[in-house]
Symmetry: D2
Subunit: 144 residues, 4 copies
């Protein structure tokens, strides 16, 4: 339903990923790049934890920001980039598991503002999924 | 004004930091631990950047979450921990500079919920400060 | 799926409505009361508008708060009430139409905190629906 | 510090108020109109209450939206209006008192986006003030 303005959005995103240093630093990878819809995952290691041994809330907010930001970026014109204007995370349950999956989507694409939502899901070694957080953001298109 | 229930809150926090793996992974350190008021800093390196070369929004949200979480944690009882219930970041300006400073404070301490705010500031090599984001969160005390 | 702790939640809510003065003042009525799921509607009149002639954002936030608050309230124990801890509204499109429908639901019910979401929809005289806003909130259960 | 683009912003706002129907419906009046800084007040009556007898959260969110919206509007060009993109309210304490005061300010004015904050304060008959909520919003300038 959502139409990308840049037909080569997938290649544009893949190229952008090279310089996504913080994303590489935490070990997150994209697994799906569709118009207005981005998914990715991360294998949980000790470095991702906070003091109680749960997934750190900063990892959750980072992967939410990434999939929502790229979901908006998949829809903009070739001479535009997107920046996060506003990010909110509702932490529903403790992050425990083997892997984190983040799914971001654009729920309203405007000329300038892209409203997005995300599901952050933990998966244990048996494959059981738990929704640990919901992300909500406004992304703003800027000319580059 | 804000009274800690645990008189040894400073030692309790310092001990907790050992297992704050994600905080160490990104290179953030606390510089001030007062009741309801926490500050910290991080030297910006390439690993903290997103594709345009600005500080990644995930770093901003992580350090905001850290200083607000510890600000709440400085006030709870010795048998309590705090978890983030809700985190919002308003990204005011691009993150550019040599160093990021995060300042978190509790604006209302309840029995269960701690409302917090944070300033995230970039500093260049000449010492000029720029407020790049504001953080707002609700922290929830849990028995441990 | 969501189980109410108070089997008479519907009667409890209907009785509470009598003293919901601000809800009556704006002319909003509930149309559906199910466990964790509340809907209501309001006929748009001139008194609900802002200066451009759109539905006022305060009406949108009020009806979002109402359906999310009652969605949480439908699940709590008979000796508990709920208060809004945190409310966020994403204003997606201008509010234009004959009627506003608000649909609130609990997405995670805890012991103390209830995370909720809402859809706010405008309907014109031909019955066409437009999603004008999404609401997100944390409701907190308190003993009464 | 904040410079209005429209030197007649005060008159422009006063004229706009005539058609602020929902603001009149709830009985809120502006008491201060300065560049990027707006205040107003409302005498609390039974119609503003929710079922427990506290100020309704919808009144709080409406007055927060109003003072932040006008704070942004005081800074835009004469051919621009502002719409709320994102509104968040942190409900710190129950709203009890004789009067509500709302103070809104722009914390960052951009070309398109205005980041705002608000204090919502209840005052009892003895003049004691209580901060009952904080509001945070992003306002977006649109050409008219």
């Amino acid at each position: 339903m959502l139409q990308p303005k840049n037909p080569d959005f997938k290649q544009t995103i893949i190229k952008k990923l090279e310089r996504q240093h913080f994303m590489h630093h935490i070990g997150f990878n994209l697994t799906k790049i569709e118009p207005g819809c981005i998914e990715g995952e991360l294998i949980i290691e000790e470095k991702h934890e906070q003091q109680i041994g749960f997934l750190h809330g900063g990892v959750t907010s980072t992967v939410a920001d990434l999939v929502m930001g790229f979901a908006a970026y998949s829809l903009v014109d070739i001479n535009e980039a997107t920046v996060t204007s506003d990010l909110k995370i509702a932490y529903l349950r403790p992050g425990i598991g083997h892997k984190v999956i983040a799914k971001g989507r654009v729920i309203k694409a405007g000329n300038l503002l892209y409203f997005c939502e995300a599901d952050i899901i933990c998966i244990d070694k048996q494959g059981n999924e738990t929704l640990i957080a919901r992300g909500y953001s406004t992304m703003c298109a800027i000319k580059i």
